[in-house]
Amino acid sequence: MEQKTKIHAEDGQQEILITREFDLPLELLFKAYVETEFVEQWMGTRVIKLEAKKHGSYRFETTDPKGNKHGFNGVIHDCIPNQRIIRTFEMEGSPFGIQLEFYEFDELSKETSRLRMRVLYESVAQRDQLLKLPFTQGINMAHNRIQDIMHRRSG
């Protein structure tokens, strides 16, 4: 299957490029980022605040299966409808620092659009740590699963 989402992370740089093409008109793709109703649906998060405008800010909150709440927030530096969003992103209480995110929205045809995200991290080390996170978690999850199976067998 063709990979719709492309990730580009150059060695030794503190940014990540994420590109994705959507079977959606540009307006709908943009709406998904600026309207509370849609952000909540696709991100599976509660939107506490979302001012999609210049000098605006946002705060989201998710609740994990254990009932712990996790906050995300940032400042919206620029927001030009159907063109671009520039914002910061912070995972509250995490060691990953602040990210600066550039979103570029492009129309490819009447029914298709593209999003290009450029995410800048505070340092190369921080970027690499974040990139490896799902990799490490994946390994841990596999380990836990093995442990579960082994426990069940011995129990």
Binding site: Q3, K4, T5, K6, I7, A9, D11, G12, I18, R20, F22, D23, L24, P25, L28, L29, K31, A32, F38, Q41, W42, M43, G44, L115, D128, L131, K132, L133, P134, F135, Q137, G138
Partner: protein, 108 residues
Amino acid sequence: MNLRRDVFQAIADPTRRAILLLVAAQSMSAGAIAANFDSARPTISKHLQILTECQLLAQEQEGREVYYSINAKKMKEVADFIEPFRMIWEQRFNKLEAVMKKYQSKKS
């Protein structure tokens, strides 16, 4: 100090990446590899040692020379490490697309 080596540490250095590119084309002796760089021979030897410890390079003795070749399996591990990160984004974007498509069809 004996630092634990991993492949990501190995590819963090530009000289080591250059060595990997060189050896990717054909297996080479340490001398032939060193001839491609301005760095002192011991420096290149150190890089080769690190790459070998990380199993990105495989060593083979041929007469008096040690030949280095690339370990494709380990290199794939490097290429794959970004894949879980990509998958997370793929899932998120798929969800976005599905949510907005539903909204679109309701509207029309």
